[in-house]
């Protein structure tokens, strides 16, 4: 079967589509005028992390040997003897060992769309590419910078510095020019929690800020580049935060979502919660058995307590709409935002035949692109486009019929996207961010 597109982003005009399938990035150029779509770039993460693991194990071995050498042992009569130099144990992955993943997690384009960054699982690296459309393969590798912990979100500052947030709660800044280093960099700011999203924005005076969201309800705002000065926290979430969205049409607004039943609308500059849009009831009809908490956290009191998780909130350059998707559901919500009060209302619901996996927008041309988990539906639709016309979003049928078959046949021929049903990237991984407070002491 064809592996679903696990992550996708679009250029602002909607002509370029960057798709992630397992450990592969594919770039498609979509030309609606001549009803065509062509593969113009590809990169496959072939990094072999066996070497990396071997190095780590050897290092650990050395450390343990050195540690053993310094230890003294006492006999029963109290005299000190040398510790017999035990061979350290090196774990060997057996049949039950967790598989080694080589997935690509996220993609980000720089504002001028000349640089693409991908995060890899294999060596926890940020991989930077130049996007050059005139080349046969539009992606050319600039550098591959490994980090101490797995990156979870990336963005760019106004001066094109790369700002990267990791699963350990740290944020690092590197410039595009600086050479690859093995030195452990110093984080510029951090949370004692897993970071889920990061954004950079400016206030009315043109000063820059970094916004970071974590698994413990927190959204922190720090100055940039003076990241050691915390400006404020935005308090209000009661569950994890998974996505941040600063609209271009009002950079002092912020929309956030995660494990709560609401989409939060903030004036981050004022530190004010403007509005909470309750989506709980609206989303409820789209939730399935997937959305129950794990068995041991079920209350068994007759209540159905399905839990929703917001995957992504995206905005457009001009239109006052937000596109929102929820994990493992078949619906896109289009919310309308009052540009002066921040109030949100439901504008439209777009229902699909399969679960949504990833959502992207072409901000400039008001298009939506989604990738679908159509494993149950005969793999008819991998990707779907929506256009904006007369105040509504509708399926872009000409684009869909032009692009779909080409995309499908391209992926069908590819050895990476052709997979067994059991070797699919974990498409739904956001719900597990929810805290259960299962550590007592």
């Amino acid at each position: 079967m064809i592996h679903p597109v696990q992550f996708l982003i679009s250029s602002r005009d909607g002509n370029l589509l960057f798709c992630v399938i397992k450990n592969m990035i594919q770039v498609f150029k979509v030309d609606v005028k001549i009803n065509n779509c062509s593969l113009i770039g590809e990169w496959i993460d072939e990094y072999d992390n066996k070497q990396l693991i071997k190095e780590k194990v050897e290092q650990e071995q050395m450390r343990q040997l050195a540690g053993n050498a310094t230890k003294k042992m006492k006999t029963n009569d109290g005299s000190i003897i040398e510790q017999p130099c035990k061979e350290p144990k090196v774990p060997v992955p057996g049949p039950g060992a967790p598989p080694l993943y080589q997935y690509i997690r996220c993609l980000t384009l720089s504002d001028d769309e000349s640089i693409l960054v991908a995060c890899t699982d294999s060596d926890k690296a940020a991989v930077l590419f130049k996007v050059e459309l005139e080349n046969a393969n539009c992606l050319s590798l600039l550098k591959r910078q490994p980090f101490p912990k797995r990156p979870s979100a990336i963005t760019f500052s106004a001066d094109k510095e790369l700002i990267l947030a990791d699963k350990f709660g740290d944020v690092y800044v590197t410039s595009l020019e600086c050479p690859v280093t093995n030195m452990t960099p110093e984080p510029v700011l951090g949370h004692v929690s897993m970071l889920t999203d990061i954004a950079v924005t400016k206030d009315n005076l043109g000063k820059q800020y970094v916004l970071t969201a974590d698994r413990d309800e927190h959204i922190k705002i720090s100055h940039y580049p003076q990241t050691f000065i915390v400006n404020k926290w935005l308090f209000g979430h009661k569950q994890f935060v998974s996505t941040l969205c600063v609209p271009k049409w009002k950079p002092n607004f912020l929309f956030s979502g995660g494990g709560d039943d609401s989409i939060y609308s903030w004036d981050w500059q004022e530190g004010k919660l403007l509005f909470k849009f309750d989506v709980g009831e609206l989303v409820a009809p789209y939730l399935t058995d997937f959305h129950f908490p794990p068995e041991r956290f079920l209350l068994h009191d007759g209540t159905t307590r399905k839990e929703l998780s917001v995957v992504k909130i995206l905005s457009f350059e001009q239109l006052p709409y937000l596109a929102v998707i929820f994990e493992a559901t078949k619906v896109i919500f289009i919310l309308e935002c009052n540009k002066s009060t921040g109030e949100l209302t439901l504008h439209q619901k777009l229902e699909l035949n399969s679960n949504l996996v990833s959502l992207a927008v072409a901000e400039m041309t008001n298009q939506l692109v989604v990738s679908l988990d159509d494993r149950k539906n005969g793999q008819e639709e991998l990707i779907k486009f929506f256009k904006y016309e007369d105040g509504k979003f509708t399926e872009d049928e000409s684009k869909n019929s032009a692009v779909s078959p080409i995309l499908k046949s391209s992926l069908e021929r590819n050895t990476i996207s052709q997979v067994d049903a059991d070797s699919i990237y974990p498409l739904y991984h956001i719900a597990q961010l929810r805290k259960r407070g299962d550590h007592y002491s």
Partner: protein
């Protein structure tokens, strides 16, 4: 994870009795005229509150914390400083002991700063219970003078949730006494002083506020001094200042760890840093 404990054990019985006592006494204002007899209650016994020495600050503990500082109800912790007339607190917490352990420092700070509210934060359940019971007993035993009304303790993970409790610039003094040294290189992020956490401490400290550190582990001392010196919002106070400061004196002798080091005739390393003004925003 719970350790299996014999439900009939003396420790369990003691803990259950104290639990009841806490529920009853914790949030009531003690009226000295109503105390029967000499009214004294025994101080809690530490042996009944033993618990593992460490707690992982990265785990998801079951913790109570306010959504934001404005949601925090301080009147329950410091009933004596709540005004029924003004329907609000007369004071805000300005002194914190992060990782307060068995609470020795707070108990000595209490009479030294009678007009300041002092809060201990401790992540270990049983240790927090001990401090609570100790404060309950002390308040009761000093009810005539309203002693120890200005200190209290909460179970909290200060590394994660400090900003949930305190507003920007609220604190005047923050104590870090004998913190967990976390010797292993890869555990260094679990240390209480890191460059990223210092930015958060700088946020809750007011300009001129002080961070006090003391440890018997030279490596950790060097680490803390190094990180605080590198941080642009802190400057070190010299030995002459330390010699004059009453908190330094208290800190050297008051904590349980400090006393233990004293008994073993170990070294104690002190470093104090002042929160300086934010530079101009660029």
């Amino acid at each position: 994870m719970f350790l299996k404990e014999d439900p009939g054990s003396r420790r369990q019985a003691y803990r259950a009795a104290k639990e009841e006592n806490r529920k009853e006494l914790k949030h009531v204002r003690i009226d000295p005229t109503a105390v029967e007899g000499d009214g004294k209650i025994d101080l809690p016994k530490k042996k009944f509150y033993r618990q593992r020495a460490h707690s992982n600050p990265f785990s998801d503990h079951q913790l109570d914390y306010p959504i934001s500082p404005s949601e925090m109800d301080w009147s329950k912790l410091y009933p004596h400083f709540y005004s029924d007339v003004e329907k609000g607190m007369l004071k805000k917490v300005t002194i914190t002991d992060i990782g307060c352990g068995f609470g020795g420092l707070m108990i000595d700070l209490s009479p030294a700063f009678p007009d300041s509210l002092i809060l201990g934060m401790e992540i270990r359940v049983q240790v927090t219970n001990y401090v609570e019971d100790r404060i309950i007993a002390l308040r009761r035993n000093h009810s005539k003078t309203n002693g120890y009304q200005n200190i209290n303790v909460i179970r909290a993970n200060a590394m994660k949730f400090l900003p949930n409790f305190f507003e920007k610039g609220q604190l005047e003094k923050m104590f870090y006494c004998f913190p967990d040294p976390h010797f292993k290189q890869r555990k260094h992020k679990a240390r209480i002083i890191t460059n990223t956490l210092l930015s958060e401490y700088a946020y809750v400290l007011k300009e001129g506020g002080i961070i006090y550190t003391i440890t018997d582990v030279l490596d950790l001392h060097k680490w803390m001094v190094n990180h605080l010196e590198m941080h642009p919002l802190f400057e070190r106070l010299d030995e002459a200042w330390e010699a004059e400061d009453k908190c330094v004196k208290i800190m050297r002798v008051a904590t349980e760890e400090g006393k233990k080091v004293e008994r073993k005739e170990g070294d104690k390393y002190v470093a104090c840093f002042r929160r300086i003004a934010n530079p101009e925003i660029i």
